[in-house]
Amino acid sequence: MDGQQNFERLALPHMEAAYNLAYWLLRNELDAEDAVQEAYLRAYRSLDSLKGTDIRPWLFAIVRNTSYQFLGLRKRRANVVSIEEAFAPRENSELEAQEPASDQQSAEDILVNQSDHALVHIALGKLPHVFREVIILREWEELSYHAIAEVVGVPIGTVMSRLARARDLLGKHLTEIVSAEGANAL
C-alpha cells in the first residue's frame, strides 16, 4: 500500500514526540496511547492535506486536537471534575512514590535526583495546558515559533508571550514545590 508506506515512513519516526505531547496534555498513559492511535488514524486519512516538507507541525496539530477532544470527553464523562482539577493534584501521590527507600551510600544524592525528576513532573503538570503545550513543543521538539504557531493555531506573537509565561511559571512552580517540601521536611 503506497499511501500507507509513505505515511508510516513520514509519521512513525515522530511517535515518541506525539506520545509525549498527548501524555502531557492528558496526563494518563492509556488515554495518551488511545489519543495517539486515533490521531495517527486521522492523519493517515487526511494525508492529502499535508503541505510543506516538515510533517511535524501538521502531525502534532492533529495529536493536539485529538488530545483536547479526549479531554473534553473525559470531562463530560466525569461530569463533576473540572479539567484543571483532573490535572493538577497528583503531586502528593507522586512525591510519596518517589521517597527513597535506601539509606546506603549517599542518601541525599538519591533524594535530590529522584525528587528532581518528580519535581519537574509536578511543576510541568501544574502548568495550564496553553503553556504546557508550547513549552513541550519548543524545548523537546525544538519546533520554531512559526511551527508552534501552526500547531496551536495562534499568531507567533502569542506563541512568544505564552512561551515566556510558561518559562516564568515553571520556574515559579519549581521553587514553590522545593520550598513546600522543605517546610514539610522540617
Binding site: 501524555y23 488511545d34 464523562r77 510541568l124
Partner: protein, 261 residues
C-alpha cells in the same frame, strides 16, 4: 536602563528566533547585565531539567497504530458504497474492546464520520470498475492473510468444496484438483468483490497462498496482469466466468495456474 527591552529577548535569543541586529545588541547587553545573564542561564537550566519529564513511549504502541492503519486500508477500500450500512458481522478488534466504554463510543462516532468521508473519497477516486475489482481483491486477499481466516470450507477434495458453494451462490464455480501441478487446494470461501458475492478458491504452492476469485461475467475480458502492492494479480475469462488469481507467487506461476484452470 534598557533591561526591560532586552529581557524579552533572552528567550528568543536562546531559541535562535531573533534578528541579527537584535541578537548582537542583546548579547552585548548580557555581557554587562548580571540580571539578564542570570535569566539566560536560568532558561538554559530549565531546558535541560525539563528533559527528565519526557516519558518513554510504550513499545506496543507502534504495532497498535500500524495494525489500526492496516485495518483502515482494508476497510475503506473494501466498502462497496459510500455510507452503506451493510449488515456484515464486524467483529470488534481486541483493542477496541479493551478501551473504556466512553472511548469506545467516541471512537465509534469518529470512525463512522471518518468512514463516510473516506468512503465517499475513495469511491470518487476509483476510476473504473476494473480498478475497483482490483482493489477489492487485493484487500480481500490481504485481509484473509492477516486474519488467518482465508478458508470457510477446508477441504483438499474438489467434491467437497464445489457443493459447499452450491447453496451459497447463484453460480457454481469450477473446482479443479491441480495437485499434480503442485497447486494444492486447501478450501474455499465466499467473499464480496465489486458489490457481489463471489467464490474464492484457495490453493497453496510451497508456503504461498493463492486466492482465486471467481464469478460469472458474460463479457470476455482480455487476460490481464497487475502487480498491486507487491502482489501479482492475473485475470482471465473462461466459459462465462471471470477469474482473478492473486498471490505473492511470481506472475509466471500464476499464469501456469491460469492455464490449468
Amino acid at each position: 536602563m534598557h533591561c526591560d527591552r532586552y529581557r524579552h529577548n533572552v528567550g528568543p535569543l536562546m531559541d535562535g528566533e531573533i534578528s541579527a541586529d537584535e541578537r548582537s545588541a542583546t548579547i552585548a547587553h548580557l555581557n554587562v547585565c548580571a540580571r539578564c545573564a542570570a535569566e539566560y542561564q536560568r532558561l538554559q537550566d530549565l531546558r535541560r531539567r525539563l528533559l527528565v519529564a519526557r516519558v518513554p513511549v510504550p513499545r506496543s504502541l507502534v504495532h497498535r497504530v500500524r495494525a489500526r492503519i492496516a485495518r483502515e486500508v482494508v476497510e475503506v477500500e473494501r466498502r462497496p458504497q459510500p455510507g452503506a450500512t451493510a449488515g456484515a458481522h464486524v467483529q470488534a478488534p481486541a483493542w477496541f474492546v479493551r478501551t473504556r466504554p466512553w472511548l469506545r463510543q467516541a471512537a465509534t462516532i469518529l470512525f463512522a464520520c471518518g468512514l463516510s468521508v473516506a468512503g465517499a473519497l475513495s469511491w470518487s477516486r476509483i476510476a473504473s470498475e476494473r480498478d475497483m475489482i482490483k482493489h477489492d481483491i487485493v484487500t480481500a486477499h490481504v485481509r484473509s492473510l492477516l486474519q488467518g481466516n482465508s478458508v470457510q470450507v477446508a477441504s483438499l477434495d474438489t467434491h467437497t468444496v464445489k457443493p459447499w458453494f452450491a447453496g451459497r451462490l447463484d453460480f457454481t464455480p469450477v473446482v479443479k484438483d491441480l495437485s499434480a501441478a503442485d497447486f494444492h487446494l486447501t478450501g474455499g470461501r465466499i467473499d464480496y468483490v465489486a458489490g457481489r458475492r463471489v467464490a474464492v478458491l484457495i490453493y497453496t504452492r510451497r508456503l504461498h497462498q493463492i486466492s482465486v476469485f471467481i464469478w460469472p461475467d458474460a463479457r470476455e475480458e482480455a487476460p490481464g496482469i497487475a502487480a498491486p502492492n507487491g502482489f501479482n494479480l492475473v485475470s482471465w475469462s473462461h466459459a462465462g466466468m471471470s477469474f482473478w488469481a492473486i498471490s505473492d507467487l511470481t506472475e509466471f506461476e500464476l499464469k501456469e495456474l491460469a492455464r490449468l484452470m
